[in-house]
Point group: C2
Chain length 316, copies 2
């Protein structure tokens, strides 16, 4: 009988204990700061003003050895080259077509992106999305040997869920091209298409179909991020998280509004469980934004110290 | 006792009778077609695919004698002219500044829009929105003597509510400039900012503030409407309603998808309660889209015959 009473007391206690919304975060200052901010934001802002924005590559999922959209582009360019003999006239495209699978890594960023835009050629936006979906299902990360869509960061998935439970609208804001990243966002982070803000191409409307053209409309990186956020949401976010210099204007734009704000940088300092890189890396280059975070006392989220687990189902 | 039974029966009947979701629509074919489509769409599409798009001017609210955003622009240009002596160097701007309040009506469309873009000068996006809000509160329609935000079409407000009750996401898609129409949409139609798709200007990010520039990024009219819809929503709508030739590509894009579709034109044929205009009008020019609607058997919504009431609280 005494045991039964003790058991009942135990069950009651565990029922009453609030469920930890962020179990993959260690009990560090970062976690406490996030939870305090969300509570504060709910008290001070109506739901319409609870807008949260997250960078994608390196903030919500792995970006090393190269941005996933560019790996997709290189793969598509090799596969579609026979239908596009004109591509070989571009020496950079020829390197991708005839080189090893990682040849795109050696190109300058502008040439990498040009390849990413070229592979829309001759396909409707729906056909391009279907190709992105097929590629994501068929390919895996060279080191982690898992599909990229399973390499979202578990602590961020928990944070997104916690924000939504508290009435936030969660948007992803990425420099990658929108047709690809919409598919990836839906599958990897559960973020619906209309909440994905990304680099836009001009498009052509013909015979009641849309085709993206290899002409950029708006690069959603650097100063383009606040502009794109305004174009799509029309509101200054109150929470923003990024991990590279391209995110700095978005963080400044967010931090500069009235009332409580949360702006943070993900710092890749965990070579054992993921990667370690910052000021010297061309991919996910983090230099000025790190200085700004330190100067402004924005939390710098240490992957190594603040995250108990990195990927869904990965060992702690 | 017999009376009590009869009363109870009557109450039961009225409780069981489904509430008419579109009381300001006459019992015509148009109303039946809308109700049948919504029922069908709910059965065939998951909520994420229930996307409805509405043009603004002439579809959701009055566009005669001139698009409301341009009336706002002309008013702002007159008011702000002392701070912008450079404006007088543009002969069209000078006509607006020195002419009667309706001088902007006489300009060519491109010059009307240029004035609309110019009045962002030197103001952050937040300051511009606040100015739009003040103007909408202070000005009324020359004929109806009511604020413009009270001149939404009541049948359309009911249709928007009915679509939302059935899990649709409702977007407005307008050629007017986004900073102004976001404010108008929120107040007049209850459509939140992130569901407003409109003409975009380039913007400048400086000192953590955004300012729109008088350079167009994307005109959300004609072929620009399907492109803008793809940029913001990433999905082909299943319902689209417009009222002028600038809406035709949006209607074709919508009509051309798989499964049930609803595309319609609002026809202004009611000079007594509103206005009558189509092929000859420069404002809300409806010619090719009317031919297309007839050829494709899209409903042409007659304001005179299909709408029992035009404005909220107006006599029937």
């Amino acid at each position: 009988m005494r045991n039964l009473v003790a058991l009942a007391a135990l069950l009651l206690t565990s029922c009453n204990a609030p469920k930890d919304p962020l179990p993959s975060w260690n009990e560090t200052h970062a976690k406490q700061a996030i939870l305090a901010f969300v509570k504060n934001a709910v008290a001070q802002f109506p739901p319409a003003e609870r807008v949260a924005v997250f960078d994608n590559d390196g903030t919500l999922w792995v970006e090393q050895p190269l941005y996933v959209q560019l790996l997709f582009a290189a793969s598509e360019m090799k596969a579609l080259a026979p239908q596009h003999p004109e591509w070989r006239a571009n020496p950079n495209f020829a390197k991708i077509i005839d080189g090893p699978p990682d040849a795109i890594l050696a190109l300058a960023p502008a040439d990498q992106f040009a390849a990413g835009f070229a592979v829309h050629a001759g396909r409707t936006v729906e056909e391009y999305s279907a190709a992105a979906s097929r590629w994501l299902a068929a390919n895996e990360h060279p080191r982690f040997k898992k599909p990229y869509t399973q390499l979202a960061y578990q602590p961020m998935l928990e944070l997104i869920a916690h924000l939504r439970e508290n009435g936030f609208q969660v948007y992803s804001v990425t420099g990658a091209e929108i047709g690809f990243v919409r598919v990836a966002n839906e599958q990897a982070f559960g973020i619906p298409r209309q909440h994905v803000i990304a680099t836009l191409l001009k498009s052509k409307f013909e015979s009641a179909q849309l085709q993206a053209q290899p002409d950029v409309l708006l690069i959603d990186d650097g100063d383009g991020k606040p502009s794109s956020i305004q174009n799509v949401i029309g509101r200054r976010p109150i929470l923003a998280i990024g991990n590279s210099d391209g995110d700095l204007p978005m963080l400044q734009y967010t931090a500069n509004g009235p009332g409580p704000r949360f702006t943070a940088i993900v710092h890749h300092d965990d070579p054992e469980r993921e990667f370690a890189y910052d000021r010297a890396s061309p991919v996910g280059h983090l230099d000025k934004a790190l200085d700004a975070a330190i100067a402004s006392a924005w939390p710098v989220l240490s992957m190594k110290n603040d995250w108990r687990r990195v990927f869904p189902n990965s060992p702690q």
